[in-house]
């Protein structure tokens, strides 16, 4: 048995969730290799080789991998798939887009969004927006698995020294073309890995009012999240959405402001260690998962919250 992990990166560095996926992959089998497909991505291959427990890095560098088009990735991955029992990547938009394309061509029924490795062929995964957990056993010879990154601790970034093997590019796919990427740059921590997340919902009423949230996020060094309702209404961009069809977050502290707590939103945050809900509707379902509920008008509560935080002289970073 051996595991091939497909690295997610930006051609300069590994994306943080690759480290979480490494931890999960190690639990499947110790013979773990990482495949880096990129363009001018030497530094990525080097970072991958420095992760302890990684036995080998396969590095394929070609301009066709610059923008991570799944159709281009697939032919390169299939060239290496033969020698591995498991193919693994993160269950974020990168892995969700890529892995099924590989699995279908290997005639494998993919196991998506795994939150626990029970054995090399048996996994725990949430279904129905996390309202049920299914234990599933894959009976395919070769297994394609995507990992919910927030369910696994990140692997250490340094200490290893795996060999880096260069490999040839696969065939380029002619019918898909990258046009542009609109990345929202922010100095705040990434939503997926932040220690504290503060999210706003429909109760925020407009995008301007999100300033109340960002002021607190700045103070707490928190990431900003949102419910689908807030994104749909145009208060904030889609990369902030937490929930069944958005991002899953597991911070130490999750503060839900003006969010009623639909099942679909809870699916993205109810594993958080501490949950705070601020909502003027005392019957809102969000209170059923909150450790601390404050029934209040958010437009009064948020300025007071900031004021109280300013009074504290020690805020953990």
């Amino acid at each position: 048995m051996s595991v091939l992990l497909i690295a997610e990166h930006n051609n300069k560095e590994l994306r943080p969730f690759t480290y979480n996926a490494v931890s999960a992959a190690c639990k499947i089998d110790e013979d773990l290799h990482i495949l880096v497909l990129g363009n001018k991505s030497e530094s990525v291959a080097k970072s991958a080789s420095e992760i302890p427990n990684v036995k080998k890095v396969i590095h394929v560098d070609n301009e066709i991998y610059e923008n991570f088009i799944a159709e281009n990735f697939t032919s390169a991955i299939l060239k290496h798939a033969d020698t591995y029992s498991h193919l693994v990547c993160s269950a974020n938009t990168f892995g969700k887009n890529l892995m099924p394309r590989i699995a279908a061509l290997l005639d494998t029924s993919q196991v998506s969004d795994v939150i626990k490795i029970i054995s090399a062929d048996t996994f725990l995964r949430p279904i129905y927006a996390g309202n049920a957990f299914a234990t599933v056993k894959s009976n395919d010879k070769k297994k394609c698995v995507t990992i919910r990154p927030t369910s696994f601790e990140p692997a250490p970034a340094a200490g290893g020294s795996a060999e880096i093997v260069k490999s040839e590019a696969g065939e380029a796919f002619k019918n898909s073309k990258f046009v542009k990427r609109e990345e929202i740059k922010s100095d705040r921590p990434e939503l997926g890995t932040a220690r504290i997340v503060i999210s706003g919902g429909r109760g925020m009423q407009n995008s301007d009012n999100f300033k109340l949230i960002s002021a607190i996020a700045d103070k707490l060094n928190a990431a900003i999240g949102a419910s689908r309702a807030a994104v749909d209404a145009g208060y904030i961009t889609n990369d902030h959405q937490v929930g069944q069809t958005g991002k899953v977050v597991v911070p130490d502290l999750y503060i839900a402001v003006g969010i009623s707590g639909a099942i679909q939103h809870l699916a993205g945050m109810k594993e958080s260690k501490i949950i705070v809900a601020i909502n003027k509707d005392g019957e809102a379902p969000i209170f059923s998962v909150a450790d601390y509920g404050l029934e209040a008008d958010l437009f009064e509560a948020l300025p007071q919250f900031l004021e109280e935080l300013n009074k504290l002289n020690t805020i953990q970073k």
Partner: protein
């Protein structure tokens, strides 16, 4: 241009799903069922493209037991021209679904295949990508905007970092995000008319696709329950609790 739209019947998104006591699955008896929400967006987008004059025919397809037909009827009521129901009992994994769709695509020869990006029951998020792979077609997943050009689509995709735009040549697969559009409601006259639209039934076994599960469901259980929390009286109590009790700030 011809568009094939795949729709799935799932437990309605408003239903609080309950796990069966014997651990074999979730309760579906007497539970409201509906079309998987992003599949409604897929149907809507196809109808909009047809209304703009860029498509001639929309075929809606579902795969599942007898009652799955309801989802095709709904698609017919909002503008699909005809329907296909591939009959099969029990759970059909995304790989088998995509193999069935492949057979239907071979026969129907659509230019585009649309479906939701994810079904809200198994949350797999696989079928569109798998079908694209089997057909050797490009895939535009998680689409929140589609611009139909001469021989291609320009698709804006919702990705973790923000938005990405790609161009895919037709024929292509698109999996739709909830933000792609606002699905319309079917009017009563259109619901009546939809009953007269053709709906072809095919048995999955006649397509020569093996639908046997490759993944064994060993058990289904309730997720761990959160301990009941407390209500705080005011903001300063909240901050004190977070600092001194939870120790998270």
């Amino acid at each position: 241009m011809k568009i094939l739209v795949a729709v799935k019947r799932v437990i309605d998104y408003n239903v609080q799903v309950r796990v069966k006591e014997d651990g074999t699955g979730v309760v579906t008896d007497n539970v409201k069922m509906s079309t998987n929400p992003p599949d409604d967006n897929a149907v809507e987008e196809a109808v909009k493209i047809k209304e703009s004059g860029k498509a001639k025919e929309i075929v809606a397809i579902t795969i599942g037991e007898e009652k799955a037909q309801e989802t095709v009827r709904k698609a017919l009521a909002v503008g699909a021209d005809r329907g296909i129901h591939v009959k099969v009992e029990g759970v059909v994994e995304p790989l088998a679904v995509s193999k069935i769709l492949q057979k239907v695509v071979d026969k129907e020869k659509p230019d585009l295949v649309f479906m939701g990006k994810q079904a809200i029951d198994d949350d797999c998020n696989q079928t569109g990508q798998m079908l694209a792979a089997l057909l050797g077609w490009p895939q535009a997943t998680f689409a929140s905007k589609i611009n139909v050009k001469e021989a291609s689509l320009e698709v804006t995709r919702e990705v973790d970092e923000g938005l990405e735009t790609i161009e895919v040549n037709i024929p292509a697969i698109v999996t739709c995000d909830l933000r792609l559009n606002e699905p319309r409601y079917a009017s009563l006259p259109n619901i009546m008319k939809a009953k007269k639209k053709p709906l072809e039934q095919i048995n999955a076994s006649d397509l020569g696709v093996d639908t046997k599960a490759r993944i064994e469901q060993i058990k289904v259980e309730e997720p761990p329950k959160r301990k009941a929390g407390i209500k705080v009286a005011n903001v300063s109590e909240l901050v004190q609790k977070l600092k001194n009790e939870a120790k998270v700030i």
